[in-house]
Amino acid sequence: MKHLTVIPAYIWAFSCTLIILFTFMGNPFLAKKLATLPFMKVNPVFSGGDITRSYSQDSLVITVYKPVFESLIGSSNHGFVQVKLAGVNQLPQIIHCTIDYDADSKADFCLNINTASNETKLESLNPLVTAINVSSRVKNYWVVRVNLEKNTRR
């Protein structure tokens, strides 16, 4: 009985070197395959969520993302909405814009951003909009995340 385990054990032990080699040499192929699996996407808390719409306002191209209320189970009462601001030609120094994040034709908040001094002011026009989460230049555009409370009154 003991002999039955010895040969498979040695075969397995030998194959460990091959596994290491395949893991690294075949990494681009294996990583590409793994990336297609359903769970291989960055959580919206980090990615900002899916884009809902993109439109032009004055000299800005505004991209509004889907509000994120992520939680391990269900959804959280606190979340954020991400807005990406890009200039038509280049990012202006002063940005002033009004955002309707839920597409109900009512402005939800105003942003005043000085991209040179990195100052951002939020004027909330909707009680569900609470505060700035983060506001930062990312490459050629500006990203703002605004904290939201979940609308539980629907």
């Binding site: 395949f22 893991t23 996407k41 959580n43 990312v138």
Partner: protein, 387 residues
Amino acid sequence: MEIKSDYSTTGNLRKTLLMMIPMLLLTFLFISGGKPDFSNKVNVFAFLLTFLFFNWLFFMILFTGKTNRYRKTGFIVLALFFSFTFILNLIQMRGSMTFSDNNLLSCEIPFCHIVSTMVIIPAVVTKTIIFPGRINEGFASISSMLVIITGISVAVGRGFCSWGCFYGGWDDGCSGILAKPLIKKVNPVFKWMPFAVLLIVALSAAVTLSPTYCMWLCPFKTITEYQKVTNLEVLFQTIIFLILFAGLVLVLPILTKKRIQCATFCPMGALLSFTNKVNIFGLGIDKDKCNNCLNCTKVCPTFSITAKDVEKGKSDFTCTKCGKCIDACSKKAIHYHIKGTPVNKNHSLNRILFLMPSFTLLLIFTGRPLLNGIELIIKLITTGSLI
């Protein structure tokens, strides 16, 4: 069943050189990346030095029969040169070791192996990865690192902690600075703390949907990258990781001659310990040869051999397979063991079968950082600048 041929290379130059042949090819392949660059003298010199270094290490491991001394040399080189080249790369890209909001928003953070302890539960429940990284692009993308971690776990189990982890060399190196420990008795009960850390970070990461170990506890941010301090919370986090690095990675390993961070804190070590349960390689103790001197229990850097384990004839499942106990045993009673085979037979073959994947791992992780590091040092000497 005993395999009749003697695979022992100890003291046998002919057999050692024969066993070197595959490693010579592998070192050439992995250092050059398949495309050797001999365009200038610096590249040639760096390549030759790296090539000779690894083959010298492997030669000495085979010829002398000593594993830990030479493994440790390569492991420390990995730690130093990985940090050196990583930090320089960051400075070239970003201007500093810090990352700021824009790096987080762009999901440009490299995925470290320790993060895998935190992403499992959220990946199962929410079907997303809770890390601001790239799925399959750039350096240390999420999918490439997950593939690497899985392959390594299957092949060597917790042997990764002594043969591949680019952080472990720091406390392994510090644990070897003093000839004798200043703190002689460390309660081995602390070897169970990494499991508690694993439990807490895995759960807290799942509940908060953020990599809590990275944010709050990882001491190795000191020698890789860390968040720019812009508020009180980040300042607090920075102080914590600096204290943990100083304490767990530098001071305590020096004083105790144990790998304190790896043995008593790292959650990845705890996770990989479970893979040791199914990994084919282990450590066996030949009770016919063992004289119960318990020297192995004193030298083990991760508290993975106790008197009870010696009685059982094998190391505990937290063993990192560093080989220190093997080298320390005066009766040559401890050996790398392949599960399912007799403990007191075929030591030489078992050793070679273990050394091949583990040394290859060390080579793959160390090769390019060492090569690039040598080129940068030459650049510094000749031009006065690293960048």
